[in-house]
Symmetry: C2
Subunit: 401 residues, 2 copies
């Protein structure tokens, strides 16, 4: 059985960044840019007023006071029609083009309109260029504004809009299909009969995929019947990643590995030295240039949750071209003495024991099927393999849920 | 002019949590639960096998070795039909119900099938209850599984599914409408003519809203014409928050405040002691039991970005019932000497100067219209009002973008 580290290395070896795709910029937040973006405009397109006020000749205000003739009013979106000469000014709005002749803008608060199209200005320190943003000073046509490989934020969506790009080439979000398997499963909307339980892993995985940056596709529940599994797995292999929930432990009805083999999915590993989550299965299909990664997650809900966060999240990050897509990790202090028994490295649910999230307390947790108790978990504490008593104050690694 | 702190206090006073709404659980990640959720099932619904293996009478394995008669095979989703007596065992799959008479499960790896429906077991430490999860031990019918007020994660979506809830009552995400105003604006898909610029704030705000947990609604661009502004603002007032981009500085064409007043939007504040972002406007409309908050953001892109992150993000958080929805803040070290001039507290774009994100370097930044330069910003550094020289090593507050 391989270790968690070995499993992660195998995922790193078999997963690769997806080819670029043209998408709407607004849907691409968090994605890596896959092209270099250059400006198609000068910004500002002209010398531009930074304030509402008056465009003036700076030399007229050398003394700090002046009365000037107002020759026109320039609003944002309109071009000046007259040049400003000495002793003249043009009323101007923020963003509007500076008229020729003018070389400074005085803010409106320092001015007082007079009769007969005149204005009185009291303002010191009005030098050439004051409150003017020169043409192309922010951005010149042809200049690169965003380098390839940059991760897009709202800010970059604004820059893309400025240079006319509502669509852009990015490394797309991986499409991740989820198929829950097992005769015992009924849909969340049904009341389970004798021996049946609701499919809680399916919806949880769909939510985990979205939170991890993937695009989730729901394939529902497949019975433990070869034909049904074959059909739904074939459908899931159209995605970038297929996540199977259940069907990978050693039971005689676990048809999944055989159906996968039939569909040219090659096993990379099966079983990891980890609790919960030991039965995890990972494989890959490469057919006609299309690659699909396949994860078989344990049917028990907490094992499924843990394996997703450790392994599937990693794969989603690699396909999306991200250097890190992991849960946030933290070194935390154990709040109380705790005895951990187990032959495998364990991810144990815990909650914060203090408001500053420095100390943690393992939950009273009944094992990998106990999802309800997990809901009060804030993090997973990592215990090493082997029985050991941990003391209050011991430092442990944790993954924040 | 009020301070940033005073502005935030006024927002806190006028914003209130939205009334609960029934939504699909899968769309509610990050939302606050607005009801107490109880289980409608026992989980597990029966004593259940935790392993693939054999259900046995523990006493038969007192010596550590036994050969037992295999009386049936129980798969998950099927009920046992026979009781297990001494010297008997039932083949059982993970998750399947424990047959009456059996009180432990031996894992498959410790067993060896023999001829004539018999099995040889070598296993020590098989006590009553081994590898069995008792009925209702995870969850008993009627017990609360999720308290009202809990913030939903993928984990909680799993728990909700387990108790039959695909829909749930939550504090919904606020609907935030965006209207860009200004005669100088053209849509991102157009090439701007003389005196025109593309509307970069609109798309950036839509992206910021989604990132801050709101549901963005795009109202496009309104010209500086009373009828058009009136119609589009009326439409925007149907949302929980209306964000206007531009139209709130002191220009004579700034019709926006007057149109808002006409539509019963009352001003709460106008102008904040902040750079960039001074002209920000905030108001509220309460008509027929419907409340809408209205923000008028500066038309310059960096002022718009900063005001959104400081003020609109805060309002979105309050409406969504979140205790915090702020950008992540951090104390950072200035990497180089820097002179800051200005009469207002300033949010200054900066980038990380080291890989561990401890030290930061202010950008060569040309002011609030310089969005392109902002794209290399990792954070906003906060400088106090007044001219001052900051030294390498000085500690400053930063907001991570």
């Amino acid at each position: 059985m391989i270790s968690i580290t070995e499993a992660l290395q195998l995922i790193d070896q078999h997963a690769a960044q997806l080819p670029p795709q043209q998408v709407a910029a607004l849907t691409a937040i968090g994605c890596l840019l896959a092209e270099e973006v250059a400006s198609d405009v000068d910004s500002p397109p002209h010398d531009k007023a930074m304030m509402d006020g008056y465009a003036v000749v700076a030399a007229d205000l050398a003394s700090g006071v002046a009365e000037l003739e107002v020759i026109e009013e320039i609003t944002a979106g309109n071009m000046p029609t007259k040049a400003v000469a000495r002793s003249q000014a043009a009323r101007i709005m923020t963003g509007a083009p500076i008229p020729s002749g003018a070389d400074a803008v005085v803010m409106i608060e320092q001015t007082q309109p007079l009769e007969n199209n005149r204005v009185r200005i009291e303002a010191t320190g009005i030098a050439t260029g004051k409150n003017i943003m020169p043409k192309a000073s922010s951005l010149a046509c042809g200049v690169t504004v965003l380098p390839s490989g940059k991760r897009l934020r709202a800010l970059e969506v604004g820059v893309l809009a400025e240079v006319g790009r509502s669509e852009v080439s990015v490394v797309p979000r991986p499409r991740v299909a989820v198929l829950s398997t097992g005769d015992e499963l009924v849909d969340v909307t049904e009341k389970p009969g004798p021996g049946r339980i609701r499919n809680s892993n399916g919806p949880m995985l769909l939510a985990q995929i979205a939170a991890a940056g993937g695009v989730a596709e729901n394939l529902g529940i497949a019975r433990d019947v070869r034909e049904e599994l074959t059909e739904k797995i074939a459908c899931g292999l159209e995605a970038d990643i297929l996540v199977l929930s259940g069907g990978v432990s050693a039971g005689v009805l676990d048809l999944v590995p055989s159906v996968l083999a039939q569909q040219q999915v090659t096993q990379v590993f099966h079983k990891v030295h980890l609790k919960p989550g030991k039965p995890i299965w990972f494989g890959k299909r490469d057919v006609d240039g299309k690659t699909t990664l396949v994860f078989g997650l344990p049917g028990n809900p907490v094992g499924s949750l843990v394996c997703f966060e450790l392994f599937v999240r990693r794969a989603i990050g690699i396909l999306a071209g991200l250097t890190s897509n992991e849960l946030q990790s933290a070194e935390v202090t154990l709040a109380e003495t705790f005895t951990h028994r187990g032959d495998r490295p364990t991810m144990f649910p815990a909650r914060w024991a203090d408001a500053t999230q420095q100390t943690a307390l393992p939950l009273a947790w009944k094992g990998s099927a106990d999802l309800a108790a997990m809901a009060s978990a804030d993090l997973l504490l990592q215990f090493r393999a082997g029985d050991a008593e941990y003391r209050a104050g011991d430092r442990l690694a944790g993954l924040i849920l």
